[in-house]
Amino acid sequence: MATLKELAKRTEGLVGGHRACAGCGASAAIRQILLAAADKPTVCGICTGCMEVVTTIFPFTAWNVNLVHNAFENSAATTSGMEAAYKALKRKGKIKGDINFIAFGGDGGTYDIGLQSLSGAIERGHKMLYVCYDNEAYMNTGYQRSSATPYGAHTTTSPSGKKIPGKQQKRKDLTEIIISHDPAYAAQATPGYYMDLIKKVEKALAADGPSFINVLSPCVPGWGYPSEQTMNISKMAVETLFWPLYEWQDGVYTINVKPREPKPVEEFLKLQARFRHVFKPGNEHLVEAFQAHISRQWERLLRKEEASK
């Protein structure tokens, strides 16, 4: 694995000067991912969404590697096409050497509108890494709910109103859905644990087939917190078991971080305006339900890890 010192010397794939919000978790994650991939040439695809919008406004680009943007729901299919072209052109001797293929999508482009495209690409076995930068709602269009939005969260389409206190449904377990495809590698990560993310990207790119990393990416305006808190919130998501860091390869689950004394989930929730309403008197049951769900998910994950040993 590349050391921090080595990483610092590599050429950045995503450079500064783009127009992401101060403290954007997703752009930090992409920067780390491209650094981890930079020992080989890398070609990327990206869904329409925050990261595409803030990094590619013509005539500027923040990308130092080739990037292809097609539409909202088809970053996986588009990147699979590039990988197919690579195979064909390599056979014909028109292209030499190895190339990393990385597709990026937000949770909108991945959990929801692009799920079919991603499922198809993984099933077909393209050697590419798909990264979901999951900021838990449609942040690009102004914080609307997605199937990655957690229970109780206020979004502009699951508002905390007088009658309904935020999103009433649980989030979808996308990582588990992808694992069901039997990919070459799958993992959950978050930029607060950056060396964990780097290691996972290296593993994913070394795996012989399709790989997937779901990266929880805190969003300053969408989650509602001060911009300097991104990495703390990213870490708190792991320490409260809200976002377990684990990986899956060849049927084996490995939980990478097991907090010795997990913090109650409200430690994560109370840092963010999107959960402000759950702390109002009379809403105690929301926090309890939230905690019960998180604990259940964690127990399940522990059992999966145990069973797959």
């Binding site: 097609n70 088809n74 096409g81 064909a88």
Partner: protein, 392 residues
């Protein structure tokens, strides 16, 4: 020269084999399924070097084609009807990014009601997407049009659709003259795009966000690229004639000399109408046929030259605009002829929707009615739905 017996689908798949594209990403759909199926056999038997991507939908088919084309590959796919409708969003993106993808398409009606047979509503519904459109009258033309379209697409940076009529062409066995593989290869040449996403020396961002300050110029440049398609077509079609002996003008005239009236139509119906013209000419009737082969870009001057000389023209449209004003060929043709000092009277016959058969008698009736209009100068009905129960 080799002569084979092939259906329209087989002919298009055979042309694809001879082109040997780098990538084909496709999803089967009736009645174009065979194109994908036959091509995957070529792949399985090692008769092509193509990377075949068996995607999970037409949306992903064209998305993967865009990725492959942006990466620098020569790319083709095939679809019909609902499949083209599902691709609709990405049709614009392929064209806007100048990706010269070719679709071997079979024209089939669009749901609802669901139906698997021929009409042109699928491609007519996509005519603003920025793709060249060639409508073929038979299998031979479909076979010949695939390399022609590919060559123009790659020369102009404009994607292309080559289409045949569902079942009438796609599934009917016909005599087919084919070129040798190396003749096709020589004709299309090697594909080396100037910009491609696997060019690691010159990293670029493809498909960036393009706002008010540049979008309009880029759209204008797309229209510029499109404006070169027709002249390129005329050159390439001539080149192909030298190679094959077969020439296909963008607008074909059949027995129009001295004709007072003409039918203007596309696809297999044009071939049927030629039979009718032959019969009526024997009876001394002054009738002719004009066939539209290219409908994007519009061969405006060719259409003016071909149709301007008649007293009356009957457009036969195999789709409707739902504008309560006839079909798209009718509407656009009226626009094209508007500038002529001496204009023919022009009426529309919407026919054959959902594969409703058009027979010799139907076409004779159109010639009879249009001849009467030419004689009297009076139009009783501007738009007729030919052969619909309860219509007349």
């Amino acid at each position: 020269m080799k002569i084979l017996a092939k259906t329209g689908n087989e002919a298009m798949a055979y042309a694809m084999k001879q082109i040997n594209p780098d990538v084909v990403a496709a999803y089967p759909i009736t009645p174009a399924t065979e194109v994908v199926q036959i091509f995957s056999n070529y792949v399985a038997d090692g008769e092509v070097d193509t990377e075949f991507v068996a995607v999970e939908s037409e949306h992903s088919a064209l998305s993967a084609c865009c990725g492959a084309s942006a990466a620098g590959a020569r790319v083709m796919t095939s679809t019909a009807s609902q499949g083209l409708a599902l691709m609709h969003e990405i049709l614009y993106i392929a064209a806007g990014n100048h990706l010269p993808i070719v679709i071997a398409l079979v024209n089939r009606s669009l749901s609802a009601p669901i139906n698997i047979h021929c009409d042109h509503s699928d491609t007519m519904g996509s005519r603003e997407a920025g793709w060249m459109q060639l409508y073929c009258a038979n299998s031979q033309e479909a076979y010949d049009s695939i390399p022609i379209a590919l060559k123009i697409a790659e020369a102009c940076g404009v994607p292309a659709i080559v289409s045949t009529d569902a079942f009438i062409i796609s599934h009917c066995m016909d005599r087919l003259e084919v070129l040798e593989d190396d003749e096709v290869q020589k004709f299309i040449g090697e594909y080396n795009p100037k910009y491609f996403a696997l060019d690691l020396e010159n990293p670029k961002t493809y498909g960036p966000l393009d706002l008010q300050d540049y979008f309009f110029e880029h759209k204008r440049s797309q229209i510029d690229a499109f404006s070169k398609v027709l002249s390129t077509y005329n050159k390439v079609a001539k080149e192909y004639e030298k190679l094959s002996g077969r020439y296909y003008p963008a607008v074909e005239e059949y027995k129009t000399d001295g004709a007072d009236v003409a039918i203007f139509t596309a696809g297999s119906t044009a071939d049927t109408a030629k039979e009718v013209v032959d019969e009526l000419r024997e009876q001394g009737r002054k009738v002719g046929l004009v066939r539209m082969r290219m409908w994007r870009p519009l061969p405006v001057e060719e259409i003016k030259a071909a149709l301007g000389k008649f007293k009356a023209v009957a457009v036969m449209d195999r789709s409707d605009t739902m504008a309560d004003f006839g079909g798209p060929v009718f509407l656009e043709t009226r626009g094209i002829l508007y500038d002529l000092d001496k204009k023919p009277i022009i009426t529309d016959y919407v026919y054959g929707l959902g594969g409703r058969n058009v027979e010799i008698a139907d076409i004779v009736r159109v010639y009879d009615e249009i001849s009467e209009i030419a004689k009297t100068g009076k139009v009783k009905k501007l738009v007729t739905y030919l052969g619909v129960r309860g219509e007349e």
